[in-house]
Symmetry: C2
Subunit: 404 residues, 2 copies
């Protein structure tokens, strides 16, 4: 068993449960007598190279529990993607502070940072135990059944579309909701869990795993609108054409060509607006509304899956256990063992680092605009307890008198 | 006491609790033996003139309770704004179906429709009792302490900004969130209730009750960013310059002038994107993100104030009681009687119809970019129980070694 000081940090985009993992590390580490200090680095790897540490040993367990239930990274995060030199600087600081356990909570890039620092320590003969703790709302880490943070974001998206469907049924038209996830469509696909009755939306779901064609999109919307008198669409921000060009860029160019003008694409609302314009222009439908879910889907406070909370806590706890009782560095991964239960394993860092998982074919329906029951079975237990449900009046039409 | 058939309809934008009012009407009306039938009109006044009625007498009370807890208008809504002729058609249908009680749940326009129909019935000597039941997330009905639907939407906005603030603290930059409410700033101001610690955002709040200047806006953002290293801004979609011109139009024109091009303004994301571009261009801040809350703030399922639910139910119940025991038409209004309790009164339709309430001066701070404690006291009890709370780690810095 190794000993000494522990350092924990949080990287990448915040999630609703990333603090559960942080607190899992801190509280589990307190159980080990050989642990003398638990440091937290402020703003991820940036805080390590700048030596901006806080002493979490001095925090009360009560406040730690309250922080665990608070979304977003309590230690702060960073978008820095360390190269070899940056990792050397990290290693220098770890060494200077005699840190023997390094836990980094993050996504792909974070696991790669852990991998490089782990190799540098081994090459230098320094006794470092480096563990990557998974986190990402995109659910795009390989080797994991799913990643902490995704279930809560998925719950937000499902609840948002359940509501958008009710709104759209009340005031019929076309609704387009743009969801995060540049390469993996899991979060966009979660919109399907907002559907209850057969006529409910989302009626169409567009994922980055399939090539997007504006013409086919318009035909799909037209068909759906003709059938239901309304249409709810979920679109991934990462949709692209066959050559990989983002649809937002493509549509903007077309607008530019038409008007010999200049379209600003820097804002986040562009894709939703451009798709809505296409529908209005080409299909002549008047009531067309678009929303870009933006930061709400990852930072909204008060929409969290209790399953996600529990698992995020456990990956933090298990990370410490793997570090203390194990004999190698690695990345903690969630493995599904039942319907529904999970266990955790420690994957080699090389197996996770820098790789991107996308949605498996078995999760996407044949037309490419919906999900399969396999996906519904996969996602439902992750959303947790207390999912809000929608009900409607049952028809009992009254005979007309004037217009009979 | 009058007798016969009852008709209820829902108008305007849906809210999280508008079905509470509907069910309040239906269940309360069932208590009166003289009521023979309770009809619901599908899609508001449109359903009346088209005679699209459902018989709610045949719905179970159990399903009615489930529908009450479901957001958005269960009967469907409409954006139709009836003129005199339209109102005559409504009256013809009411008469043909021998409807003697008409309840319309809606905002300004709906109350005006009730007013006109009420007058027409009186002029024709037809014994109609017409009652307007208040509803609007904008909180812009005069004569009401607040309107059903507003508290739940305000809760969504407060929770959204509490989360956005945590996200922004984790990955510092400028965040702009655009909130609904074209004329009244209540919903945008609700963002202030997402703030807990003194350094928390929203740091700046821009309301349609104050003239917006792009130059002052940029100066405000610059100051805040210099002070906190970050800045969270809440902006009403209705902000305008001194002449009343919407800021989105103004900024778009400027872009157009610059580039001799053409900017599409039809999408809902335009204002957020344009403000973000201004900040990036003029202040040179790199990490600037904008969200337009859009339909989420009125239709998100699973974010509702229990106080709002109770009151929305009660305005429906009271409407029936006023109709059955009272001797005049009117608009049900919420009156605050304690901290916190309410009572209901029946205002004359002329007192409410077609008028717009905006935020009182005592609710807006001197600088015009924040709210007063009077507003916090006003809004807090409306948000209901179980508001999620945010916690943070307390500082315990670790001495630097390499960079000391």
């Amino acid at each position: 068993m190794s000993s000494g000081k522990i350092l924990v940090a949080q990287g990448g985009g915040p999630t609703a449960v990333i603090n559960q993992s942080l607190v899992g590390v801190v509280l589990e580490a307190r159980r080990f007598r050989n642990v003398t200090r638990i440091y937290g680095a402020l703003h991820g790897v940036r805080g390590i190279v700048d030596e901006n540490f806080v002493d979490l040993t001095q925090e009360t367990s009560h406040n730690l529990e309250l922080v665990a239930a608070t979304p977003s990274s309590a230690l702060g995060s960073t978008r820095d993607k360390p190269d070899l030199k940056y990792c050397e600087d990290i290693f220098k600081v770890l060494r200077a502070h005699e840190i023997e356990h390094f836990f980094y909570i993050g996504g792909n890039d974070s696991s790669d940072t852990v991998r490089i620092v782990s190799e540098q320590a081994r090459a230098a003969g320094y006794p470092l135990r480096a563990i990557h703790i998974p986190k990402t709302i995109d659910n795009d880490l390989v080797g994991n059944d799913h990643t902490p943070g995704f279930p809560s974001a998925a719950r937000f998206v499902a609840q948002a579309f359940a509501g958008a469907n009710l709104d759209n049924a009340s005031l019929p038209g076309v609704y387009v909701g743009v969801v995060m996830g540049r390469h993996a469509g899991f979060l966009t696909a979660a919109s399907a869990l907002g559907k209850k009755f057969p006529e409910d939306g989302p009626h169409l779901i567009y994922l980055p795993e399939r090539v997007f064609s504006v013409e086919r999109f318009l035909a799909d919307v037209k068909d759906t609108y003709a059938r239901y008198g309304r249409c709810v669409v979920a679109v991934s921000e990462g949709i692209h054409d066959a050559s990989g060009e983002p649809i937002a860029t493509l549509l903007a160019k077309e607008v530019e060509r038409d008007a010999h003008g200049n379209v600003q694409l820097s804002g986040t609302g562009a894709l939703a607006d451009l798709l809505c314009d296409e529908i209005k222009d080409k299909l002549g439908i008047k009531r067309v509304r678009g929303d870009t879910f933006g930061y709400l889907q990852r930072s909204f406070i008060g929409c969290v899956s209790d399953v996600d909370q529990r698992e995020a806590r456990e990956v933090g706890e298990k990370a410490v256990q793997f570090a203390m009782w194990g004999d190698r560095d690695g990345s903690v991964a969630i493995k599904r063992t039942g319907f529904y239960s999970v266990d955790y394993e420690l994957l080699p860092l090389e197996a996770v680092a820098g790789k991107t998982r996308t949605m498996e074919d078995e999760f996407i329906d044949e037309k490419g605009t919906g999900v399969t029951d396999a996906f519904r079975m996969y996602l439902r237990p992750l959303l947790g307890s207390g999912m809000p449900d929608a009900y409607r009046l049952r028809p009992a039409p009254v005979p007309k008198i004037l217009k009979r």
